[in-house]
C-alpha cells in the first residue's frame, strides 16, 4: 500500500522534501514508516525519541497501524508562540 509523508521544519530540510510517497507493507505502523525514512536519511535518527506524529491531520501514536492512502505527518519538537 502507499502512504503520503509530510515533513516539517528541520525534518523537511534533512529530507529535502516537504512531501514524499512511500510504499509500505500491509499492517505498517507510523513507527515503521519513520524507521524506513530514517534508513534513507540517517540524520533523522536523532529525532527518534522527540518526534510526534499525525495521521490525516489528527494527532496519532507511533504504533498506529496505517491504511492505504493515509497521510502521515512527522512533527519535530514544536516552537510556536
Amino acid at each position: 500500500m502507499r502512504v503520503t509523508v509530510r515533513l516539517f521544519a528541520r525534518l523537511r530540510d534533512i529530507a529535502g522534501a516537504a512531501e514524499l510517497t512511500r510504499d509500505v507493507a500491509q499492517g505498517a505502523t507510523i513507527r515503521s514508516v519513520w524507521r524506513q525514512l530514517a534508513g534513507e536519511y540517517p540524520e533523522l535518527v536523532q529525532y527518534e525519541r522527540s518526534i510526534s506524529s499525525a495521521v490525516n491531520a489528527d494527532y496519532a501514536r507511533m504504533d498506529q497501524v496505517l491504511s492505504d492512502g493515509d497521510e502521515v505527518a512527522f512533527l519535530p519538537p514544536v516552537s510556536g508562540g
Partner: protein, 167 residues
Amino acid sequence: MVRTIYTEDMPLLAIGPAPLELNALVAALGDRGGADGAVVTFLGLVRNHNAGRQVQHLEYEAFEPLALKAFARIVGELQERWPGARVALHHRIGRLGVGEASIAIAVAAAHRGEAYGACRYVIERVKQIAPIWKREFFEGGDVWIEGATADPEDAQARAEAERVACA
C-alpha cells in the same frame, strides 16, 4: 463602539500570514450582553535577541489543519478549568521582523482572575502542543528552534501549564 467593528467573519481561532490585530480578536469575543467583567489580551512579539544571538527575523511555519485542531483542543481544555471563559487565538506564520506580533490571544470572562489564568494557559499550551515551528535568522546563520515534543495526551505537561497559569 470599536468592539463591534470587526465582528463579521472574524474567526475565533485562526492561523495565517496576515498581520495580527488585537482589537479584532477582542471584538470577535462579543460582549455577552454585559456579563463579562474582564478581557485579558496577550501579544507575543519577535524579540531582537535569543540565547545570546542577535535576531534579525523569524520564519514561522505550521501544519495548519492540525494547528487549528490544537487550538480548539486547548480551548476545550480551558473550559473545563475556567467554564465561563471565551477565547480568541490567532497565530501568524511566514516571515516576521523584530517587534512584530506572532501570536495574539484574547480571553473574556466574568472576573479578572479567570481571564488572566485562562489567557496564560492558552499561551503555555500553544507552546507545548501546537504544530508550529520558528526558524531564527541571526547574525551569521540560522537555526530551527525546537521546544517541546507535541503530545496533547501528556497529562504532566497539561498540569504544568495549569500550574503556571494559576501561579
